[in-house]
Symmetry: none
Subunit: 225 residues, 2 copies
Amino acid sequence: MKDGPDIARIAALIGDPARANMLTALMDGRALTATELSQIAGVTPQTASAHLARLGQGGLIRQRKQGRHRYAELASPEVAGVLEALMGLATTSGHLRRRPGPRDAQLRRARVCYDHLAGEMGTQMFDTMLARGHLFRREDEIVLTEPGSDFTRDFLGPETQTRSRAPLCRECLDWSDRRSHLAGRLGRAMLARMIALGWARRAEGSRVIRFTPDGERQFQALFSS
Amino acid sequence: MKDGPDIARIAALIGDPARANMLTALMDGRALTATELSQIAGVTPQTASAHLARLGQGGLIRQRKQGRHRYAELASPEVAGVLEALMGLATTSGHLRRRPGPRDAQLRRARVCYDHLAGEMGTQMFDTMLARGHLFRREDEIVLTEPGSDFTRDFLGPETQTRSRAPLCRECLDWSDRRSHLAGRLGRAMLARMIALGWARRAEGSRVIRFTPDGERQFQALFSS
DNA sequence: GATATGTTTCGGTTAGCGTCGAAGCATGAA
DNA sequence: TTCATGCTTCGACGCTAACCGAAACATATC
């Protein structure tokens, strides 16, 4: 009686308490590291690793390796929909445990990530450029569109046509905001330009980037949705 | 360990192949006996009995004793909705793609989903009613507009003003089409009316709905965009 | 009553999987 | 380089639950 798709396989994946806790924690769309998920699920990292592998193989989550961390996020909104439907059946009051990022508010606000802007302001810039069509997400890569090229040339100046093999645009997952920001050569150039313009400067002995009041204004003028 | 909604418990219930087959078989809204379900699931009656007890305890099915038979049926349309959502995920994320047989084509074309019309013809009806302004999607609910009320009263007859607490319109995600079709009291009434009019009838032992040539014509006349 | 059929309970076996400790990689920092 | 951290692999243990045979229970029919 193979009347339909194999729902048992997927339901069994959700049916383990540890995995269910992990999936529930991922419901808000953020990406979490394997260790964080192991703590949420109440199991050791080894066990969590096995669970994440199964969830990935089953198509419920996607995993992205970044540095020595490995982030997991729900594979699609459809997965979230199924989880939500299940929660509805379970007649429950959902409680999601939030895991704060860096304690320092300044770090959360704006910091350098290797060589580019991260934190809330980094994700804001990235989101705005995506929304305006300056950047375009194609499969797993980020491409600079024609208007985006005009915009960046305008902002950076014409002499910045470096011809490097490094990717121009890269997506970098934010560890405080759990969303993406712009990395790659363009991300580096954008931050360098902001510092060169005097909008901001790096704090000594820290990754914090301090924007001047005027720099903050200019930034908001350029990247407010 | 803080427990939110216990989705793991419910998912684990669906996660066993035998139980999943049973639930899938119950998706057509009919009530089946324990022995029938045991044959469908491919297990002995003893095993099926244990499974049915667990499903009943978990609130997924209801069981009524009638004579020396014991009938099982899905506990609620919400359960059917969860199963449909799971089928949708299983078709997209399942790396094991089944080759479509002739029976699958019929299922994809028109089938019963708990008590309402699903498949291509179900989504066609839903889309057409949305496009014509008979239905309106507001946030997460579907509302019947004024012209829509006229239309359905015209089609269903004036005596169908049931005053139930069940939602009139509900959206149900189709696993074959990956789009929505109309569920809820109205969805149920629409299908019942089509069968009463002789447009279609349910195939024995399957969820397939067979439209007569004339019924298909009438349907297309009413729901072609 | 006796008999047949549908369903459940009991006992025991087996297989699967969730779990962790220890060790092995991989990557970033000093 | 050396060290530290995050993650994965391996091996083994233990527990749950799915399964069936046999038998008991329930209900309809003769």
